[in-house]
């Protein structure tokens, strides 16, 4: 296998820079997911995204080149900042094989409505490690898939 094709996983969190309330954020997230699902399917990238306490958390997995290219695009996105890379490493299996980009946890507007649901995702960026963020994403993904 070509070295650039080796399966890699990248995990990061970042600070939301989208102005406006939860509804505006929901709309942005929907847009991001739509674009991601299209681009990622084409690039053989899978992963999951969550939003909580003002931060995005995301895992991207796929052939190294594809993950790097996707991440580079995401890095240039002004809708978030302070992107903190928690892990970028080879992996033998995909954690989200069925998701070109799955959203896990509550959307901001729902979280607002039901108050505090988002807290249950256990996502606290200040104490986040790559493994914990990945576990959180994965745990929520399992719930979602039922």
């Amino acid at each position: 296998m070509n070295e650039t094709e080796i399966l890699h996983r990248l995990v990061y969190y970042s600070r939301n820079e989208v102005e406006g309330g939860a509804d505006a954020l929901d709309a942005v997230i929907d847009q991001i997911l739509a674009v991601s699902q299209r681009n990622n399917t084409e690039a053989d990238v899978t992963g999951a995204l969550l939003f909580n306490t003002g931060c995005f958390g995301q895992a991207l997995e796929g052939p190294r080149r594809a993950v790097e290219a996707t991440f580079e695009r995401i890095q240039r996105d002004t809708r978030h900042s302070d992107v903190t890379l928690l892990a970028f490493e080879t992996t033998t299996t995909r954690a989200f094989p069925n998701w070109s980009m799955g959203y896990v946890g509550a959307k901001p507007a729902d979280a607002d409505r039901f108050g505090g649901i988002a807290q249950t995702s256990g996502f606290d960026p200040s104490r986040m490690t790559a493994d914990r963020l990945l576990q959180t994403l994965h745990g929520l993904a399992m719930e979602e898939e039922g």
Binding site: R64, R76, F88
Partner: protein, 549 residues
């Protein structure tokens, strides 16, 4: 011999046949602009054939050619135009008036020249504009009195990426930086790479400082975001210097210099920042240059001196060592403050040669003292990057005959931040021959305890700011106590620096420091006086008085 008659001597049919086979693409049009004839080369070049009596414009349009040419007339018997073929090739067209009012058009494929010229305007690595293009555009805008902004951008830590990961990854990184800068630039901006890790954004137009701030912030933010490249996570930063025309100048070179001065300042202030040019920067830079010039001559002119400050053991009250302190006495400037010249020496790399002089001189002086006490010598982080440091230390010891145990190298944490393992290996090598090592200015900077674990320092020198602060705030006292305790449990001596009063002396004794160094227990003095102090300890006050030190 008479010239041949220019009148035709062959039949017109033969002309036409020759024209058809001519190696140059030729079109003939009648006075109304209809194509009468296209030779083989012209048809091949255009990639389509002319229908009979088709208009010239119609022919070009049907071939997918962009551009048009006006037909020549009596007023302008020759016309030129450049056109782009559907496949991207560039063709120069020249039309000449014929006696019957029609036109002969010759075509020339100049794609190769145009591409070559384009290449000469671009940086081959990133595809951005190069220095020549930047200057040309800048010159043109200034000529036209256009307001504009120049942002000079320099990457932080790029060199270490290049050194550790190699040039191919460094090059890939530069391309990514170029792309990111491209996303910051607006339409009409010129983004250029001037070489190495230097980039420039030229923004034509009138912008307020506030607007430019937003752009500069975006550059710093975007370039500073982590890169995932070839399986590596790479962190670099960007520093930006900004100048605007016409406010700051209206000359190419002046503006570029301004931007660089502002850039230099933003780097000096800690990288990952931006600064606007200010007129004072120029004067400050001139002053710095002047210091540099004098500093370059200082070694040869023997303008450096060493002063020695006593280090006293708190348990015995004995002077157990001296720290060698560098002094620069310049004929015109007088005694120059280290705060003024050390940064220049570090920046220019002169510190390596000066540091070596300090080391050799201090070893020689100490070797002549009547008591075998220690001499402390400061090493700059830059000296650790010189591959010959160990050799220099060993040769200073050998030449002076000083016992290695009497030499105490004082290093700051900064020396350990980069290439920690290599520096520690070097320190271990020196320790193996008996040289002592102390950690200077402890408590400032990161004060990473990890370093204390990685290398067994002989001594921690507590920064004078804590000793000074002890009177006013309890935290300073608590820090002195904590460091003293840390030293005690790690088996390291602790020296409190900057003790100036009896109260401070009592306080640091109480907190458990083992040694003291400061004005109260002895000011820096000349080498001969240090020596004299050791033979006649009681005369110290007089010596200080005489020297006026």
């Amino acid at each position: 011999m008479p010239m041949p008659d220019p009148e035709p001597v062959v039949q017109p049919d033969a002309y036409l046949a020759a024209l058809l086979e001519l190696a140059t693409p030729v079109l003939l049009a009648d006075a109304s602009g209809r194509v009468e004839f296209a030779n083989r080369e012209a048809t091949a070049l255009l990639g389509c054939t002319a229908a009979p009596a088709m208009a010239l414009d119609g022919l070009f349009a049907s071939c997918g050619i962009q551009g048009r040419i006006a037909l020549p007339d009596a007023a302008a018997p020759q016309r030129f135009a450049q056109m782009r073929l559907s496949d991207g090739r560039i063709v120069n067209v020249e039309a000449r008036l014929l006696p019957d009012g029609g036109a002969a058009l010759t075509l020339a494929d100049v794609s190769a020249f145009v591409r070559e010229a384009e290449r000469a305007r671009r940086d081959p690595l990133t595809g951005l504009a190069n220095r020549v293009t930047l200057h040309a555009t800048l010159g043109r805008l200034l000529q036209a009195d256009e307001p504009l902004t120049v942002l000079s951008i320099d990457l932080d830590r790029f060199k270490s990426v290049n050194d550790t990961l190699g040039h191919p990854i460094g090059d890939t990184l530069l391309r990514k930086v170029a792309e990111r800068l491209g996303t910051v630039a607006a339409d009409g901006d010129v983004v250029a790479r001037l070489g190495g890790d230097e980039f420039t954004i030229l923004k034509p137009g009138q912008f307020s400082q506030q607007e430019i701030k937003t752009t500069a912030k975006r550059v710093v933010d975007l370039v500073g975001r982590t890169y995932a490249l070839e399986g590596h996570m790479i962190h670099i930063g960007a520093s930006v210097g900004i100048t605007q025309a016409p406010q700051d100048g209206t000359d190419n070179d002046v503006l570029m210099k301004n931007a660089d001065l502002a850039l230099y300042r933003s780097k000096a202030e800690g990288r990952g920042r931006f600064r606007f040019f200010e007129q004072e920067m120029d004067e400050q830079m001139q002053a710095r240059r002047a210091i540099e010039l004098d500093l370059r001559r200082a070694l040869a002119l023997k303008e450096f001196e060493l002063a020695y400050q006593p280090q006293v053991d708190l348990a015995t009250q004995d002077v157990v060592g001296f720290e060698a302190l560098l002094r620069w006495r310049n004929a015109a400037r007088g005694l120059v403050s280290p705060a003024e010249f050390i940064p220049v020496a570090e920046e220019t790399g002169l510190i390596v040669a000066i540091g070596e002089w300090v080391l050799r001189t201090a070893c020689r002086d100490a070797a002549s003292w009547p008591e075998p006490i220690s001499v402390g010598v400061n090493l700059s982080p830059l000296q650790f990057r010189s591959p010959t440091l160990a050799q220099t230390v060993l040769s200073a010891l050998a030449n002076s005959g000083l016992a290695p145990e009497r030499l105490e190298l004082e290093i700051t944490e900064n020396a350990l931040i980069e290439d920690t393992d290599a520096v520690i290996a070097l320190l271990n090598r020196l320790r193996d021959v008996g040289v002592r090592v102390s950690m200077d200015d402890f408590g400032t900077g990161y004060s990473s305890l990890a370093y204390l674990q990685k290398f067994p320092f002989d001594r921690l020198k507590i920064d004078q700011s804590f000793v000074r602060g002890m009177g006013e705030n309890p935290e300073a006292g608590a820090i002195v106590r904590a460091v003293a305790a840390l030293g005690a449990s790690l088996g390291m001596k602790t020296t409190a620096e900057g003790v100036e009063t009896e109260e401070q002396l009592a306080a640091i004794r109480l907190e458990g420091c083992t040694h003291v160094q400061g004005y109260f227990t002895g000011r820096p003095m000349a080498a001969a006086d240090a020596s004299a102090l050791l033979t006649q300890p009681r005369r110290v006050a007089e010596i200080i008085e005489e020297e006026g030190l």
